[in-house]
């Protein structure tokens, strides 16, 4: 329950429903009955955080343990933050209303780099010392997991423990260790040292980093028996892996306001720009029976009438049509609709269309990512133009009139001709509409072309690549604009300055910690929100911290450079990533995991797609 004092503040802020909890499905326990209190913090607003699947899985998993009470904490929007600071109200958890400093664990999920300043702001609002070294005693253990934990170096001063890979087991092992340490009366250092022995746990304070004269990293050296290489955790059997049968159902509308069922983890494709495609290897599927059972329970318990079947590439699920048929056997009579996001252009068939037709026709979204076939081969986005055009024709024949196409600019090996081909592809889609026999007559097509700026990420074949400078990116954005000659195409592009900052932090090292601290001290937060993002303020922070952002964003690394994340092991080997990068230079695509094994290294986990019969 929210603290009584905030009632009078709530009517002065937008969407007060964000701050009160009380939703159906929230877990309330008596704090005197639990041994460990865990504050699950999402460093963004309620509507974003409540849409995230990971928090739902771990919230239910932790709360199934009688000795743990896991609660939710979100970043207050700037209007609420101002009220809280003015009235000295600490950041509180929604279930109990207790301030963050009452908790044993403060856990953050690292979904995107631009949320790092919110982590610091939440700690400060919650009365938790920001720096790991300033926190003493066996309390306030600040932990973090999620995709950005694959290069956590820019936030190592603030976080005590990082969880690498799937959290379902390792999180509980660390909580259990904490419980033991509390009973034994261990101190904080002893707890952290013992935690570092658990597979998947990275305690950054146990590693010393030294640098070369050219500012690159010389070495990362473990202390106190911490492992030299930290290996990610993987849940190999998805059917037996924990999945909640109920969600906290928000009272206010959130971004993804529906039940979500994860159908598999990982992706067979290996698009060379895509970090998720490498971090979550190998592909591990759930069975149709398991998916159907879990979905049905979720709909019954939450009251949602829409289920989203979530994965990195839905149509790559090996049993996609049988799955949709099985789900519709109960979903149709119960007025539940299914949605299948992340469909690939080549996976869009009549069969699938028939099964998901119950969902309202909004529009279709495809991500060819690059305009020319040459560049699509180089980035290994194995989508062919004729497939895209055929799919659009099927869609137009089926009554669709709106198509959104997502592209990236600044991809490695890209030329101005590749960029102009983005506009050309958009035009071909418009032409396809007019040649489709079954198109809606008397209506004109709406084709949206969106171009975002490529950000090179760790653990991808492009991890060594420079990001295009902002000037070049702007030039490319203009070039697309000038190449579009029809009004049927709407062209959107994203600001290149946020991508630049993202590129700095994505491949940053420990020297960025002090810049983050300074940014926080200057009131910077919500960098992912255009209404808050202040690029000049960030440039000042970086320059005042003695940091050259181009060193991180725009520099080409050599293949033998020690990268800040080299001591973390996500299953894919550096030599595999290098081979893939070299293939990209030759504009050579690679087969997907089901076609041919490229020897990425994930086979060592002993399961998943690597051992499927072919």
């Amino acid at each position: 329950m929210y603290p009584k004092e905030i009632e009078r503040l709530l009517l002065k802020v937008q969407k007060p429903g964000r701050y009160v909890g009380g939703e159906l499905g929230e877990v309330i326990k008596d704090k005197r009955d639990v041994e460990v209190r865990f504050a699950f913090c999402f460093p963004d607003t309620y509507e974003i955080g409540m849409s995230h699947l990971g928090i739902k899985i771990l919230y239910s998993l932790f709360n199934e343990k009688p000795y743990i009470w896991c609660e939710r904490v979100f970043a207050p929007w700037i209007d609420m933050e101002a009220q809280m600071r003015e009235h000295d109200i600490p950041l509180y958890a929604l279930e109990s209303g207790d301030p963050l400093y009452d908790f044993d664990f403060i856990g953050f999920t690292l979904q995107y780099e631009l949320s790092y300043t919110n982590i610091l702001n939440m700690l400060s609002l919650g009365g938790i010392p920001l720096l790991s070294k300033d926190r003493h005693g066996l309390e306030h253990i600040v932990v973090a997991g999620g995709p950005c934990a694959c290069n956590p170096e820019p936030i190592t001063d603030f976080i005590d423990i990082f969880f690498l890979g799937d959290g379902e087991e390792v999180d509980l092992e660390v909580i259990e260790l904490y419980r033991e340490c509390k009973k034994e009366g261990c101190d904080r250092a002893e707890f952290l040292r013992r935690a570092s022995q658990i597979k998947g746990v990275y305690v950054p304070s146990l590693y010393d980093v030294s640098y070369n004269d050219d500012a690159t990293i010389r070495s990362v050296t473990p202390r106190d028996g911490a492992p030299a290489v930290i290996e990610k955790r993987v849940m190999m059997n998805m059917d037996e892996s924990y999945y909640p049968d109920n969600f906290v159902v928000p009272n206010i509308e959130i971004v993804h306001d529906r039940a979500v069922e994860e159908i598999f983890r990982g992706c067979i494709r290996g698009c060379r720009f895509c970090q998720a495609g490498f971090l979550y290897r190998p592909v591990r599927e759930k069975s149709v029976e398991c998916i159907s059972k879990q979905c049905h329970a979720l709909c019954r318990n939450t009251g949602y009438d829409e289920v989203s079947l979530s994965s990195l590439s839905s149509s790559d699920y090996s049993q996609v049509v049988p799955m949709l048929k099985e789900l519709n056997s109960w979903a149709k009579p119960e007025n539940v609709s299914l949605s299948l996001p992340s469909l690939r252009v080549d996976g869009f068939s009549d069969d699938i269309l028939d099964e998901i037709k119950t969902v309202r026709k909004s529009g279709l979204t495809f991500a060819p990512e690059a305009g020319s076939q040459r560049l699509r081969d180089a980035i290994n986005k194995n989508v062919h133009e004729d497939e895209l055009i055929n799919t659009c024709r099927v869609a137009f024949d089926g009554g669709y009139t709106t198509v959104k196409l997502y592209f990236m600019i600044g991809l490695p090996t890209e030329t101005m001709d590749d960029v102009a081909d983005i506009a050309n592809l958009g035009r071909k889609v418009v032409d396809t509409f007019y040649s489709a026999e079954g198109r809606v007559k008397g209506k004109s097509p709406r084709v949206t072309v969106s171009a975002s700026s490529f950000v090179p990420k760790p653990f991808t074949p492009f991890q060594w690549e420079p990001q295009d400078t902002m000037d070049v990116l702007k030039e490319k954005q203009q070039h697309i604009k000038n190449s579009i000659t029809t009004k049927k195409i709407t062209y959107n592009y994203h600001a290149s300055d946020t991508s630049f900052l993202e590129a700095v932090f994505a491949r940053g090292d420990r020297r960025l910690n002090k810049a983050l601290l300074l940014a926080h001290e200057r009131g910077i937060r919500f960098d992912g929100w255009s209404d808050c993002f202040d690029f000049q303020a960030w440039l000042d922070v970086l320059s005042d911290s003695g940091i050259d952002p181009a060193f991180y964003a725009n520099r080409r690394r050599s293949f033998d450079e020690v990268l800040p994340w080299d001591h973390l092991d996500y299953g894919v080997t550096k030599s595999f990533l290098q081979r893939e990068c070299e293939r990209a230079y030759r504009s050579e695509a690679s087969p997907n995991c089901r076609e041919k094994c490229m020897g990425c290294g994930a086979m060592k986990y002993g399961g998943g797609v690597c051992y499927e019969e072919r």
Partner: protein
């Protein structure tokens, strides 16, 4: 098929959810409860529910109503509150379910319980606040700007206060009846904001709707 009306209370965390969000919460509760009610028959089928008088964000209520159509004429209406309550979040509780008697268009007035205090308690004492309130209500007219569909117009609230009664207790509280419904609706915040301006102090008002009435002061049911 029969038209039924549930009366529910809305308070606690649910004071802070908007009318549209309340609609969504109710739709999910009905879906989850598996009540056999009439669904629309369009492309996006959904349970057909209507609300007689939307409640402003931040108000509590003991007398909200929602109407829907029960398909089975022999359905036991007295079991419906419990079936819905186990599917509703903290702060919304269905009190009764009966066949609808009056039409939403019959609604003429609503009653509110209001407690007032200064945002900053140093600004004005409870006693002073109480004296000022009496003074304010004794003014010959209380002109405020009211936003209507046709634009902003000045109205005299004085003539719209159908009933006013101070309540006992430590805090400055009163019960107030104002016109309500689709043709003329006066939000109690108009009066409170006018009072706040009059004394030059920011106020916090805890407002609960306690009654909805048709012609002749009969409860809407």
């Amino acid at each position: 098929m029969k038209n039924v009306r549930v009366i529910y209370e809305k308070n606690g965390p649910c004071k802070y959810i908007s009318h549209l969000d309340t609609n969504r919460v109710m739709l999910r509760a009905i879906g989850k409860s598996k009540l056999n009610i009439w669904y629309t028959e369009g492309f996006n089928r959904h349970a057909y529910i209507t609300f007689a008088l939307p409640l402003s964000l931040g108000f509590g209520s003991t007398c909200e109503s929602m109407d829907f159509r029960i398909l089975d004429d022999n359905e036991d209406l007295s079991a419906i509150p419990e079936r819905l309550n186990c599917c509703l979040p903290k702060g919304i509780r269905v009190l009764s379910c009966k066949e609808a008697v009056y039409k939403p268009a019959d609604i003429e007035s609503a009653e509110y319980d209001i407690t007032l205090e200064a945002m900053d308690s140093n600004d004005i004492s409870e006693k002073e606040l109480s004296i000022k309130l009496n003074e304010f209500l004794s003014l010959p007219e209380i002109i405020v700007e009211k936003k209507t569909k046709k634009g902003i117009k000045n109205v005299d609230l004085k003539g719209y206060i159908l009933r006013f009664e101070l309540s006992d207790g430590d805090k400055v509280g009163f019960s107030l009846t104002l016109p309500a419904g689709s043709s003329l609706n006066i939000n109690p915040n108009l009066l409170i904001n006018a009072f706040s301006d009059y004394i030059g102090t920011e106020l916090y008002a805890d407002i609960t709707r306690t009654g909805v009435f048709i012609k002749g002061g009969k409860s809407f049911e």
